[in-house]
Symmetry: C2
Subunit: 355 residues, 2 copies
Amino acid sequence: MTADRPRTPADPVSYPVPPQTGDRIVLAHGEGARLTRCLIRDVLLDAFDNEYLRPLSDAALLPPIDGRLAMATDSYVVSPLFFPGGDIGKLAVHGTVNDLAVSGAEPLYLSLGLIVEEGLPLETLRRVILSVRDAARESRVSIVTGDTKVVARGAADGLFLNTAGVGRMRPGVDLGAHRIRPGDRVLLSGTVGDHGITILSAREGLGLESSLQSDSAPLSELVALLLDSGLDVRFLRDPTRGGVSAVLHEIVEAAGVAVVVDEAAVPVCEEVRGACGVLGIDPLHVANEGKLLAIVAPADAEAARACLAGHSLGRNAAIIGEVRGDEMPSVLVRGPRGGLRILDDPSGAPLPRIC
Amino acid sequence: MTADRPRTPADPVSYPVPPQTGDRIVLAHGEGARLTRCLIRDVLLDAFDNEYLRPLSDAALLPPIDGRLAMATDSYVVSPLFFPGGDIGKLAVHGTVNDLAVSGAEPLYLSLGLIVEEGLPLETLRRVILSVRDAARESRVSIVTGDTKVVARGAADGLFLNTAGVGRMRPGVDLGAHRIRPGDRVLLSGTVGDHGITILSAREGLGLESSLQSDSAPLSELVALLLDSGLDVRFLRDPTRGGVSAVLHEIVEAAGVAVVVDEAAVPVCEEVRGACGVLGIDPLHVANEGKLLAIVAPADAEAARACLAGHSLGRNAAIIGEVRGDEMPSVLVRGPRGGLRILDDPSGAPLPRIC
């Protein structure tokens, strides 16, 4: 946001005739001049107003942060922009907040980059921006700086967002694959696949029951609860793209261990189970946007499950598996009859633009 | 970058058959599973390797920063991706580095978000990534975290980048429109319009002489030189989209003053002057990516010009105008015969995708 313009009570300069752009985004909204400043002032600053954003300088000036920092970023290209349980704006806040939270940081500040296709209804942009605002409030982060680019019709698909986030690392927290040991338990905070199947259903018109919706949610409170519990938590991750499977394969690669998942213990809601059955997809491969995967020392696993279950976002928390040192490094699933199968690591699954 | 994988000497798991994707980006490169991890490891981590990025966690863990922080972001949608004097990767580093620098911060860390269109040659992505690497080294910043999304053919135009940056505010620096006073001088570090006209020429085939190239450059050293000089610097900005004109209009709006620019004093290179003449564009409206606009107290103006001129990026530095309190708040240009005209603030100039 390049316009340096404090919101003083009276404008020192007034442009009596507002530019006529109709109700859609035009290329000039992205050119850094008058229309860009109008857009910033009328749509963005109105929604996000805070002391860091308000000066609309090239960069936001932030107070000192005590201790180590964490920094994360994600771009969001989900299609459709609006879906049951959320929209691209909500996703863009929750995604980056969650990346910070699972790293052991308290999320504080977000940047917001918009890439808008010429012709997007201004009303669509407004709805997304209000959703970003609400999600940021809920997640207790401030949108402190941003940028808007407009590309010609056909050069992008509606709207892409990017958020980057900065947080304060919680002192004494050490999480990561390096801390995982054979015997550790794998916990999930709730049902898998809700987000991915919701998006697929909305996009492809699968006609699933209307009760299914995205699980998009900020995990910072849930993570804080778990980390403050004093339990021996070794690794946290939000299983987004690639689902639980991608996270477990990363663990296998990084720690050289096997992970055995007990299929019957994985929480899956009925609609997702049904859709996955029809589509031939394993729910473990499907994206989530408000779930926490935790690896916890064996003795603390049940207490950690109970801790998660005490929060509304963790009420279906379950211990779904175990880290093993005596198997070939791989992700294994124990089926209903006790047999083990290898969970593949897909390299071509057609689930694009899920987030 | 979601794969948690330290670069240990021996891989605990080896996938003997690399996925066959040919030489182009496919949708699966963005799905968070195996191909995403291959891309991150082989293209991104190889280029950017540093201690913060290496763990490839959801967020980078950074050391404490002493004092106030600055945070900035920009998305980059320039077309074409490669142009004389630069490319989208260089731009994405310099742009965000410069946003931090002109705010009075020392740039430290960048995030990098990629939105890639399916079918982009891998070689193109590699070239851009190496350019990001080189620009980051030159600018003394580290790429500490990132994200890659792939969208289907036609849903984006080749490649879009986003960078967000974090820097340490220089102690005691107070820059902004609130410090601007009548009588202050406006300085420019060099010729205007080089970047914008280079892009237009490359895109539209204007057939300009090959000597014209983008001025894309990191301004952090030049800014440090000026701020360390002890001179009374009031406001700094890099005049990118909307050019010098957009910055001056922001100042007029924010400070309620007039700015008078002496047209003859504005450095413009011959090719840009010629192209602007043919196209009917004022060079003051054209984007720059390596120029500094500074507002300085009157008594320090000549010393500030000399200070800028002592650096290779400021060798054409000039005092181009003056802040005035006795005119209606507006941007005025003094022409060759001494007459004043109002410089308009375009709301529909067709210069899209210049950065």
